[in-house]
């Protein structure tokens, strides 16, 4: 435990590379995630070019993809590889590793009043596993046959048989290896987060005084620790099917001109294992973003978060329910209709805690005194995308309706809005808000405004029309839709979507520039620039190992005493003792 707070000279390596300081590790996660995010966005723009203007030649494709885009036209196999790696990077490397890795690491010790994580060493290992796994994933783009191409869910037998498609060769093996390392990283991080939150809270920091960020990180970590091992087993069984002649997922297959030598497994088994992780994963991505936005909305509305206990309750309810809904991804696999009914019921139950959260956010804004920092804009945007995307989940959860929209663009629209946009908004909000805690400086507000409005408009511009493309019956992961007459009806939406995607992608330059420029030239931050209550703003601006130079702070109240009528200031930090006769919330 990093209980010592004496200063000792650190070498460059131990300070910036193999650091065990949670603040440095958090920045390492963030920078890696930004690099991965840039790659994933570029991949999506490449395939949106093909989808918007099928078969047309773009020299930029040839510049970047070389033989994958002969004469500037994207190759069919390369298209699938791009879609697959875009999804994998976004879900796992940006929104799981990047989001939890950055903000759990940065905020858990700072907001609970601890000097560091319970184990700095495990924390460092967690990052290095993450980095190695990221490097392998990127490297897999360059191997013979191309990267994994079966979609980010890599269903066997497609992913199990190298004969089935070029991307199921070396690229797929690397994908699986990368994923095993990623899960190792996630588990090391998750266990550390749980132990730290349970054991290292400072004096007075009762569970019911924790900021909602910490509650969200705690439940996220528990979900990860319980569900990621199941993904590892799914992945390891798949590796064995690929290279050791087992047949966990293979049955009665004739491919490449001959009957497969092994049989007796079930491809559906993989889907059960995968989605047992895969659905909690959605909330592993979403909950930290919701936690971050709770904190930011409350701070910038200058109002207590409405229904603090109900918010905790709904985080717990969502976390629990997320484990018993995985079957809604499998309504059309031929599962027993009765089991399907059970999954319909449990899935729709999740809408209740989600509705409570949405209404509580809105009530927090009501009669607030709202400061529109870029972080606040992204948080309000998050509430909108969470509601808009969540509502279409009601259609998809209804098995009878899912039959006709399953695996269409309607699903693509749904999860990109509710999970992609919301979680990215939460992550960006967090970056703008806690940037001073990372770099001691502030990002430019004006550039932040431009970034937000471009991102919001383009995000909805990309994903909202996709609902209609999907309702018209357009399947996802198609290279070209022009051979289907019945889809001509929505054909003119595709170029529009692609234009929004390109503009939105370029709009992220505002963020990248702002982020890197402000590290060196941003305005120096005060100790508590947002006038916030939580403990991280009681630490000195210059970041020190051990967080607080002297004694650890003592907590006397909850994190949300904003505009408390008993005080003149519109915020009361958690370290301020209760006045005589004041009742704690």
């Amino acid at each position: 435990m990093a209980g010592h707070n004496h200063h000792h000279e650190e070498s460059f390596i131990s300070k910036y590379v193999f650091s065990q300081d949670h603040k440095m590790i958090s920045k390492q996660f963030l920078l890696t995630a930004i690099v991965m995010g840039v790659v994933a966005v570029m991949l999506s723009i490449f395939f949106r070019l093909q989808l918007g203007w099928p078969g047309e030649s773009f020299s930029i494709l040839e510049t970047f993809l070389g033989k994958w885009a002969p004469d500037g036209v994207l190759d069919r196999n390369a298209y699938l590889a791009l879609v697959t790696i875009h999804g994998t990077i976004m879900v796992f490397f940006v929104l799981t590793g990047g989001l939890s890795g950055t903000f759990s690491n940065l905020l858990i010790p700072l907001q609970i009043g601890a000097r560091d994580m319970a184990s700095g060493f495990l924390n460092m290992l967690s990052y290095w596993f993450f980095l190695v796994s990221s490097v392998i994933m990127i490297f897999s783009l360059f191997v013979e046959g191309g990267a994994a191409s079966g979609g980010w869910t890599v269903y066997p037998p497609l992913s199990a048989l190298p004969q089935a498609m070029p991307g199921s060769g070396t690229g797929m093996t690397l994908w699986l290896i990368s994923m095993v390392l990623f899960v190792a990283s996630s588990l090391l991080g998750g266990l550390n987060y749980i132990v730290t939150i349970i054991n290292l809270r400072t004096k007075g920091m009762k569970m019911t005084r924790l900021p909602l960020t910490i509650w969200a990180f705690l439940v996220t970590a528990i979900l990860g620790v319980l569900s990621f091992p199941v993904l590892v087993s799914a992945v390891v069984l798949l590796l064995m099917d690929r290279s050791m002649g087992t047949a966990f997922y293979l049955s009665d297959i004739h491919i490449g001109g001959e009957a497969l030598d092994v049989t007796g497994g079930s491809p559906i088994l993989y889907q059960h294992l995968f989605w047992f992780l895969g659905h909690p994963e959605v909330y592993i991505v979403l909950l930290p973003a919701l936690g971050i936005s709770s904190e930011i909305i409350s701070t910038n509305s200058r109002k207590p978060i409405f229904g603090y206990r109900a918010m905790i309750g709904s985080i717990l309810a969502i976390g629990f329910l997320s484990f018993i809904v995985w079957g809604h991804h499998m309504f059309v696999t031929g599962m027993n209709p009765f089991i399907g009914s059970v999954f319909v019921f449990t899935t729709l139950l999740i809408a209740i805690p989600s509705a409570v959260k949405a209404f509580n956010y809105i009530t927090t804004l009501w009669k607030g005194n709202i400061k529109f920092t870029p972080a606040m804009l992204f948080s309000v945007g998050l509430v909108s995308t969470f509601v808009t995307g969540g509502l279409t989940g009601i259609i998809l959860a209804d098995s009878a309706l899912d039959v006709n929209v399953h695996d269409t663009y309607f699903v693509v629209a749904h999860f990109h809005i509710v999970m992609g946009m919301s979680a990215i908004f939460g992550m960006l909000a967090g970056v703008y808000h806690w940037y001073p805690k990372m770099y001691g400086r502030l990002m430019s507000t004006k550039l932040g405004y431009a970034h937000f409005w471009i991102t919001l408009v383009c995000g909805y511009g990309v994903f909202f029309p996709m609902h209609f493309v999907g309702l018209a019956g357009a399947p996802r992961r198609y290279y070209d839709y022009s051979s289907f007459q019945f889809l001509d009806f929505v054909a003119d939406l595709n170029p529009i979507i692609s234009v929004f995607a390109i503009v939105g992608g370029i709009g992220q330059l505002f963020f990248l520039f702002n982020f890197f420029y402000s590290i060196f030239r941003g305005q120096k931050s005060d100790a508590n620039p947002w006038k916030s209550n939580t403990l991280e703003w009681t630490t000195p601006v210059e970041r020190i190992h051990g967080n607080w130079p002297n004694e650890l702070p003592v907590v006397h109240r909850w994190a949300y005493d904003y505009s408390n009528p008993a005080y003149d200031e519109d915020f009361v930090p958690q370290i301020v003792p209760l006045k005589a006769g004041e009742e704690e919330h």
């Binding site: 020299s59 510049t63 069919r76 269903y155 037998p157 497609l158 048989l161 004969q163 070029p166 297959i253 004739h254 491919i255 001109g257 009957a259 030598d261 491809p267 559906i268 509305s301 109002k303 229904g307 059309v332 031929g334 399907g340 319909v344 809408a351 209740i352 509705a355 409570v356 009530t363 009669k367 005194n369 400061k371 529109f372 920092t373 309000v380 909108s384 509502l391 259609i395 098995s399 009878a400 309706l401 006709n404 399953h406 990002m443 550039l447 408009v457 909805y460 209609f468 309702l471 019956g473 399947p475 051979s483 019945f486 520039f513 420029y517 931050s525 620039p529 947002w530 009528p565 519109d570």
Partner: protein, 464 residues
């Protein structure tokens, strides 16, 4: 061109950098800090929320007006129920979408920061929270009950006299099989699949043919492997060494070789020498040798699996090996009679596919090794639908909706819904399975090409 793009990017970045610097300098002159959001900025963002709301809703309404009739009226009986349920759910979620987003945007724009105000301290209100827990619960209960009722109607057992049709998926086309006059599908087994038997239908003759073909291949491979020159030479050297040890040590000291062993070795030596002198020896690289041995054991297991195919009779007393002879196999398009219940049986040869029929509100995955089912009653013939759509070229379609490889986006088959008379006439034209010499796949050239490439590649990889 590349240079130009690069130039544009660089100039763009420099321009943003300069803009930022100018802004930064002016900000310093005005002594404003990044965290102090000015009244003007708060108000600007407040107005932008309202503007965004208006544009967002306008965009939604335009989309609804233009694309709201996303699919023509359902062409199946259960599809009508699905559409009613869909409309019901859509009305609810669109209403909630407008109400909640409007509250959000209006509050965000109304309550922007002003120095002279203090926010209302309103940490919780049990009645309000109870209200928005209970109201969604009630609405969801209705949605669940309505949804499950439709689901149960869709997924119940098919009636015994339903027309059964097998839809068979493989990379990258569809094959459809009708049970023929005896109303039973012939047993199918993946071990019997060949170019002349694309579904692997089991018949006694087919089994014999397959076994014969495999055994011929096996014999050829064995001959190659057994006459490999390097292996024979090695074996010869080993036998000679054992018969006439060149050094004193080894197993020579103590006990003599048994006469049986000696005779056996000498006989084997004779065979090996004969083989070496026969002029039939092959020369294989070590890898090719191993690959061929591997192939031999796989072929042996293949034979074993064919031998294990069970011979039995269906409940109708028709033998499962005979039932397939009158099955009818079609490609390119398939026909169904209107207003007759049809039960699809979906199978796949290689990877998971999904049979998606959007006009019938029907979809089911095709999983290798696990047959799946879906029942429906088509209600509108192709001809009538063409009239409804006012489009003489309209066709129903079944398309693949589970990513399955490079030509996934091209894997479709036309569905024709006929009047019963048209259907019967069409079915009669389709040849019976045994009468067919060859079911040359009428695949689109592009898809066929890639299939062949895959096949050729993997075979060379294995054989060479």
């Amino acid at each position: 061109m590349k240079l130009f793009i690069l130039l544009v990017v660089v100039v763009g970045i420099v321009a943003i950098a300069q803009l930022a610097r100018v802004y930064e300098l002016t900000a310093r002159l005005r002594k404003t800090k990044e965290e102090d959001i000015s009244y003007a900025d708060n108000r600007l963002n407040a107005k932008l929320w309202l503007l965004f709301m208006v544009l967002f809703y306008a965009g939604f309404i335009v989309l609804l007006a233009k694309y709201g009739d996303y699919l023509p009226v359902s062409a199946s009986a259960h599809g009508e129920g699905v559409d009613t349920l869909m409309d019901f759910n859509m009305y609810i979620i669109i209403a909630v979408f407008f109400v909640v987003n409007t509250l959000l945007f209006v509050f965000a724009s109304k309550y922007y920061y002003r120095k002279d105000r203090k926010a209302k301290f309103f940490p919780h209100d049990n009645r309000l929270e109870l209200f928005w827990t209970i109201v969604p619960s009630i609405v969801l209960a209705v949605i669940i009950i309505f949804g499950l009722r439709t689901w149960n109607e869709m997924t119940g057992e098919a009636s015994p006299d339903a027309l059964r049709v097998e839809v068979y998926a493989k990379q990258f086309d569809w094959t459809v099989r009708y049970p023929g006059d005896n109303n039973e599908f012939g047993l199918a087994n993946y071990n019997l699949i060949s170019t002349t038997n694309p579904l692997g239908i089991v018949t006694a003759e087919g089994i014999a043919e397959s076994l014969e073909a495999i055994e011929a291949e096996l014999a050829a491979l064995k001959a190659e492997v057994e006459n490999e020159r390097g292996v024979l030479l090695n074996e010869k050297a080993e036998i000679e060494e054992e018969l006439h040890p060149s050094h004193g040590h080894g197993h020579g000291d103590g006990h003599e070789m048994s006469p049986e062993r000696k005779a056996h070795l000498e006989a084997r030596l004779h065979d090996v020498e004969a083989a070496l002198n026969s002029g039939n020896t092959t020369v294989l690289s070590e890898e090719a040798y191993e690959a061929k041995k591997d192939k031999i054991s796989r072929l042996e297991r293949h034979i074993q699996r064919i031998m294990e195919i069970e011979d039995f009779s269906y409940e109708s007393n028709i033998n499962a090996w005979d039932a397939g002879k009158d099955d009818r196999i079609v490609k390119g398009e398939f026909h169904l009679p209107v207003r007759k219940e049809v039960e699809f049986i979906f199978r796949s040869r290689d990877v998971i596919h999904s049979a998606y029929m959007p006009h019938f509100r029907a979809q089911m995955n095709c999983v290798p090794g696990v047959p799946t089912r879906f029942k429906m009653i088509p209600t509108i013939t192709t001809d009538s639908m063409r009239l409804v759509m006012n489009n003489p070229e309209f066709d129903y379609i079944l398309l693949c909706n589970k990513v399955c490889g490079a030509a996934h986006f091209n894997m479709a088959i036309k569905i024709v819904i006929d009047t019963p008379e048209q259907y019967e006439a069409w079915l009669k034209e389709q040849a019976e399975y045994v009468a067919k010499e060859e079911t040359a796949p009428a695949v689109e050239p592009e898809a066929a090409e890639s299939v062949e490439v895959v096949v050729a590649d993997s075979q060379t990889a294995i054989v060479e």
